[in-house]
């Protein structure tokens, strides 16, 4: 019963979030496709003129990194203040609170999935078959699932904490901004001077983005590091879930 309500509510709120965004737009759901298209055009034209980093097809490199990054940053940024905004839902009944941040993550994941699908079509049209091998697709899928897990785990922690300390929202925004430049998204890992590279090893996103960019740039990370990153990501979700469950009963007292 409880389990059912959790899933049903999660999906209903996710759907609500997706629908609400385009509700009064004349073009309606077309925006789901137009948005990422414009994004990619801007990335492709503007960024490619400024940076190159000696990568052939640099615009493709950008798409591969920026689309998932946009999902990751938007999901966490939007999920963090959400419980405070949705206080009227929380006052209504004793439903599982985790559906609030998780539905935000899922709705952004939906938009990301659409844009990723469009990117795949684009790659087919361009004849970029190296992205569409079984191995490349497998790495993409793995990276995307881990990214979803990571965003969910972090959102559970930040959204719960933000109920008690509203500063968290601002801290998250700042951290996300720094994190963007600290992750090889618009530049390849090889652009980092080798004596600094170890510091970048602390970032679990390094593994995920190098999995995504593999067909274009080869990053040779030690296998043990990759495993540690995956472990950190999985632990974030588990600990985030436990932490959220512990804090959730006290939300109403602070809203």
């Amino acid at each position: 019963m409880r389990h059912n309500q959790f899933i049903d509510l999660l999906l209903a709120l996710t759907e609500k979030e997706i629908k609400a965004r385009y509700k009064h737009a004349v073009l309606g759901f077309l925006w789901i496709f137009i948005n990422p298209l414009v994004q990619m055009l801007v990335m492709g034209f503007v960024f490619s003129l400024i940076f190159k980093f000696g990568i052939k097809d640099y615009y493709l490199f950008l798409f591969l990194g920026l689309l998932p990054w946009n999902f990751f940053s938007l999901a966490i940024n939007k999920a963090t203040p959400r419980i405070v905004w949705d206080r009227s839902l929380i006052q209504k009944s004793n439903f599982p609170r985790a559906v609030i941040p998780l539905s935000m993550v899922l709705s952004h994941f939906f938009h990301f999935a659409v844009s990723w699908g469009m990117l795949m079509i684009f790659l087919i049209l361009m004849g970029q078959w190296q992205f569409l091998t079984l191995k490349a697709l497998g790495f993409q899928l793995l990276a995307i699932i881990l990214l979803l897990i990571f965003a969910s785990g972090l959102s559970l922690i930040t959204s719960a904490y933000n109920v008690f300390y509203r500063d968290i929202n601002f801290i998250v925004q700042a951290v996300i901004l720094i994190w963007f430049y600290a992750t090889p998204i618009i530049y390849p890992f090889s652009a980092i001077p080798s004596n600094y590279q170890t510091i970048f090893y602390l970032n679990p996103l390094l593994t995920l983005f190098s999995l995504l960019q593999k067909p274009l740039v080869e990053v040779n990370l030690p296998l043990s590091l990759v495993l540690i990153h995956v472990l950190i990501i999985l632990l974030t979700l588990i600990l985030g879930w436990i932490f959220f469950r512990k804090k959730a009963p006290y939300f109403t007292d602070w809203l």
């Binding site: 309500q5 049903d8 509510l9 609400a20 009227s88 439903f95 300390y165 509203r166």
Partner: protein, 238 residues
Amino acid sequence: MKNNIVISLKSVSKKYILHHEKPTLVESLFKTKEEFWALKNINLEIKKGQKLGIIGPNGAGKSTLLKIITGITVPTSGSVKAKGRIASLIDLEAGFEPELTGEENIYINGLLLGMAKKEIKNNFNRIVKFAEIKKFIDSPLHTYSSGMKLRLGFSLAAFSNPDILIIDEVITAGDESFQRKSYEKIQEFCHQEKTIIFVSHILDILKKLCPQTLWLDRGKIKEFGLSKKVVNKYLHFN
């Protein structure tokens, strides 16, 4: 918990920390906290099918008690047990999303109240009919009048098939004909095996609906017993 007892509170106390403004990280580290006990050592058992009235002046802890029973908040100390689905008619508009249509709101709020998808589907027409919003079901909720929203909120809670129903002053919601309708609905619940907690300042209705009444005062139970007696004492006390 004995079989026929659906709500049981054992030495429940609730402390609130007063926030005069939104807490910030720096403030919470340096400022001393102001505490306030909304409930102190409440013991209460409610049987299945019992109709209990709750009275008390503003600030007596009535809302806090209801929030604890519904599980919206947790007690600082003591234990709470509640069996079955609880619907509260307290904040009828809570949970409504202004951008979404009436239909979408029914769906989401039904889930919030613990209804299954299928249950919502099966009851959809009845909810809409009772709320008298059939014509506007596809319009976004921000176009609804406050009366329409209240009717929808009441209708949803009423058709969520609760085991325990918590009622505030809702009988005064809406126009006269809807007041009559909602009162009839509540009476219908009273005849069924539903457990009802009724919080009201309208003592006549309270006496009519609930054989027993609990009088809360400054977070403590002042009196508990037959409604007639408790209400009389309450009236003389004020």
